[in-house]
């Protein structure tokens, strides 16, 4: 049977005091309500990150492992609402400049030291604000974290910080690292970056580079009776076909964030032994993108940008290249973001005649051979679908008289070509939405990012109205008003189309049906798995 996460928590906390459960927890075997305790849960990872510290590196590849070992103040519940983890509650001052977190009592670090407000203070001021990608931007107005007592942390900002933005962002950008391990050391070289010490349901055991990471059940975990499995193993398998074989032979039980090839995901979908779903990844929507370099005079003309969007049959691409996974995007905010999605149709649907008319109108008449002009397209290979889309764009644009040359570089090369050297006309890659436009998305449109910062507005395009709305929305405290501001922002962007969100998609997780309590939160792959268990084979 499957339990919801909250159901399991209630059950466990309700019966945790009984001696029978205590013994069951200690010895393994049957737990409450048919839950099978014990066993090893093995997860696949296709890429290996350099360090295992989510307070220093914000990336799903880091979270998949470390979120079971380290914890944040809050996490998302099944409905996508931030709920307490290491915090037990919070208040924001009416002016939005102070947010007070009350912290959980009796929590211990894996090395036995107590968790206190000093850890929160240190993580926020020394790690998130100084090093953490996205965190430095989120916390740029954070002035201090006061700790009036060991279980209270008061965040003081110089500009209003919307409570909903902070809480949503802290699910990803709010992991707490132990103050006593990091203080006074060289943060980037601290050994705890590859041998993490946390407060989570699993304790780090071993990291074999290129092979696996192991973490064992934390018997002193503050959620009594949890976690259910004895051990989690993460295996690095770079070859996606080999990863599918590992899943099929039972060597791994779960692979998150499109760890397998699209073809294998599609194939396993019809296999009764596996679940292949976008459930559990709702918080990590992403888009296929098409970036325009506005320094090219043709692309500086909005009619040309619209014509390019009209020339590409996105539903056809999704159906035939993405195995039907995804839908045409309607703007910079994906529909998975229920809080901010303004709701509209794709602004520039496929219409080849309209595309040709727009190009003619803009004055770029077909020359010899029917070619109007030639553009260089740089694919940024975030996933296997990026080169496919690049080719599809090339062929689609050929049909309206725009010749496209594809410039093939590896990821590091493509990033520096586009973002550092501005040496591109078109680029295509992924945009990952992180729950709030202010965290991940507004930097793609706001001007002022220094040259070389990847995934920021380096398009040679600027709009004062968009800049003003971005800033206003980032400091607006009323959630309803924020939502309205972002709707307005979306409308402006869709009008101008500085870059184009082509598709919107969600990551797929493939798991054996034996996995229970899986995929039950919107960022499940990056959650703590304290309630996950494996049914007998």
């Amino acid at each position: 049977m499957t339990l919801t996460r909250r159901g399991a928590m209630r059950l466990a906390s309700g019966v945790a005091g009984l001696p029978f459960v205590r013994r069951a927890a200690a010895q393994g075997g049957a737990g409450p309500a048919g839950i099978k305790r014990g066993g090893v849960l093995t997860s696949h990872l296709s890429g290996e990150q350099r360090i295992l510290n989510p307070a220093l590196r914000a990336s799903t590849g880091v979270y998949i492992i470390t979120s079971k070992i380290m914890e944040g103040l809050v996490d998302l519940d099944a409905s996508g609402k931030p709920v307490p983890v290491l915090a037990t509650g919070w208040d924001a001052a009416p002016d939005g400049k102070t947010v007070t977190f009350r912290l959980r009592d009796g929590v211990q670090w894996h090395d036995g030291k107590p968790f206190t407000a000093a850890d929160v203070q240190y993580s926020a001021m020394e790690l998130w604000k100084k090093y953490l990608n996205y965190g430095t931007q989120l916390q740029q107005y954070l002035q201090a974290v006061d700790t009036p007592d060991p279980h209270t942390a008061v965040f003081r900002y110089s500009r209003p910080m919307p409570e909903d933005l902070l809480l949503r962002a802290l699910c990803d950008l709010g992991y707490i690292a132990p103050h006593h391990v990091f203080a006074g050391t060289d943060v980037l070289e601290n050994p705890a970056n590859t041998a993490p010490i946390g407060t989570g349901p699993f304790k780090f055991v071993q990291y074999e580079r290129g092979q696996y990471v192991i973490a064992d059940r934390n018997p002193a975990y503050w959620r009594e009776g949890f976690p259910f499995v004895d051990r989690i193993v993460w295996r690095f398998i770079t070859d996606r076909a080999a990863a599918a074989a590992a899943l099929e032979t039972g060597q791994v039980q779960v692979t998150c964030y499109n760890g397998l090839s699209l073809a294998d995901l599609d194939r396993l979908k019809s296999d009764l032994n596996y679940v292949v779903t976008t459930r559990g990844s709702e918080a990590n929507a992403f888009n296929n993108t098409l970036e325009f370099n506005h320094r090219r005079k043709e692309l500086a003309d909005v009619r040309v940008r619209r014509a390019i969007a009209h020339a590409i049959d996105v539903p056809f691409f999704i159906e035939n290249f993405l195995y039907g996974q995804g839908k045409p995007a309607t703007g910079p905010i994906p529909s998975a973001s229920t809080t901010f999605f303004p709701g509209s149709a794709p602004p520039y649907p496929f219409d080849r005649k309209r595309a040709i008319a727009l190009l003619d109108e803009a004055g770029f008449k077909p020359g010899a051979g029917g070619t109007r002009f030639t553009l260089r397209l740089v694919p940024i290979n975030n996933g296997e679908d990026v080169p496919l889309l690049a080719t599809f764009i090339q062929q689609s644009l050929q049909a309206v008289g725009i010749k496209v040359e594809i410039v093939n570089l590896d990821t590091a090369g493509a990033l520096s070509a586009v973002y550092r050297d501005w040496n591109f006309d078109l680029a295509t890659g992924w945009h990952q939405y992180r729950g709030d436009p202010a965290v991940s998305t507004s930097v793609w449109y706001r001007s002022g990012s220094p040259k070389g910062a990847p995934w920021t507005n380096q398009w040679g395009w600027q709009s004062e109205a968009v800049d003003a709305l971005t800033d206003q929305a980032a400091a607006e405290l009323d959630p309803a008003k924020r939502r309205k501001l972002y709707a307005e922002w979306t409308k402006l962007i869709n009008e101008e189309l500085p870059i184009w969100m082509v598709t919107e998609r969600e990551f797929q997780t493939a798991a054996t049906k034996r996995l229970q309590n899986g995929l039950n939160t919107p960022r499940w792959g990056s959650s703590d798995w304290h309630d996950a268990w494996l049914a007998p084979a």
Binding site: V40, G47, E48, Q49, R50, R57, A58, S59, T60, G61, Y131, L132, N133, Y134, T136, Q137, L188, E189, N193, T194, E208, R209, G210, Q211, Y212, I214, R231, V233, R235, F236, I237, T238, D239, A241, A242, A245, A246, E248, T249, Q251, I380, N382, L409, D410, T411, A412, G413, A414, L415, S416, A417, R420, D421, Q432, S440, S449, G452, A453, P454, W455
Partner: protein, 325 residues
């Protein structure tokens, strides 16, 4: 003493080569757009300029290219391979961690390919133009023409997924806590498929060479003499023909040590083995210069050592070859 002189001269001759390879590779990698921080950002899915600048200075990337190269060579003089940007530890440690898997895979594949090639080559040569020869030569050609990643994946599909006889990848069962003979057996099982994949391709080459060498030797006068002495056919083949036919095989063995290091990138990826090939690939993709140069350095040493061993072997196999060449 003869051996030592030979070793000394070989090493001396390879030093300039090594230096040119390292400096050339360093400069070549400067031509690739993007540095390790770009690669890191790509892996993380985003970062900000402040962090990037911080990391660049942490990895010493803010210096000019000649300064970086100079620093590297200076470090190398003291046998310090530097610090790996990807792994956050000394390159020497990173390589030492990966070397066993590669060596294990390399030695077992080479051993298998060599032994199999010799045996099959002899059989084919003895039964020339009859069905065993045709069969062996055809199968050899098929293996030679098949890409190794395909062979590997098909091996996984058949033996791991369908039949369930062998594990689909990895070096050993993770966290099983085996020790001693049990662990060795476990690792042997895990290495069976990758070894077979890697060696099948080389097997084909060895087989062809062995067959040709045997045919040539078997037609020579001393074989006729041996037969005339009244020796049995087995004694003629094993004692007289084989030893002479081995010379080209040993040459090939020395050459292919280098090949095996490169060829294992594919096999290591498909079978998720933590070897040097995959490390090198990752180092290129992640622009981890120190690690890549370190691997090249170690690989070059391995190839030099292997060729040295081949030279020594030559002298043993054929007393006519003098040591002071």
């Amino acid at each position: 003493m003869r051996v030592l002189t030979l070793a000394g001269r070989r090493l001396l001759a390879s030093l300039p080569t090594l230096l040119i390879i390292l400096a050339g590779l360093f400069l070549l990698l400067q031509l690739a757009p993007g540095d390790t921080v770009d690669a890191l950002m790509a892996q993380m899915g985003g970062g900000d300029p402040a962090m990037m600048a911080q990391l660049r200075s942490f990895y010493g990337l803010d210096a000019t290219v000649p300064v970086q190269l100079g620093r590297y060579l200076l470090r190398l003089l003291s046998f310090n391979l530097g610090y790996s940007a990807i792994y956050g530890k000394p390159v020497a440690t990173v390589i030492a961690e990966r070397l066993p898997a590669t060596l294990l895979l390399m030695v077992s594949s080479l051993g298998f390919a060599f032994a199999g090639g010799v045996a099959l080559g002899v059989v084919a040569a003895r039964r020339i133009n009859r069905w065993p020869d045709t069969l062996i030569s055809t199968v050899g050609l098929i293996f030679y023409a098949t890409p190794s990643f395909w062979l590997g994946l098909m091996g996984i599909v058949v033996f791991a997924v369908r039949l369930g006889w062998l594990p689909p990848g990895g070096l050993e069962e993770v966290g099983a806590g085996h020790a001693g003979a049990r662990r060795a057996l476990d690792m042997a099982l895990h290495l069976l498929l990758p070894t077979a994949t890697l060696s099948l391709i080389f097997l084909a080459t060895y087989l062809r060479i062995m067959r040709a060498a045997m045919l040539e030797v078997m037609g020579q006068d001393f074989i006729r003499t041996a037969r005339a002495k009244g020796l049995s056919e087995t004694a003629v083949v094993v004692r007289h023909a084989l030893r002479n036919a081995m010379l080209p095989m040993v040459t090939l063995l020395g050459l292919q040590v280098g090949n095996l290091l490169g060829g294992s990138v594919v096999v290591e990826s498909v079978f998720a083995l933590p070897g040097l090939g995959r490390l090198a690939y990752e180092a290129v993709v992640q622009r981890d210069l120190n690690t890549l140069l370190g691997i090249v350095f170690v690989s070059a040493l391995l190839v030099i050592a292997a060729n040295f061993a081949v030279d020594v072997l030559y002298a043993r196999l054929d007393p006519r070859i003098p040591g002071e060449r």
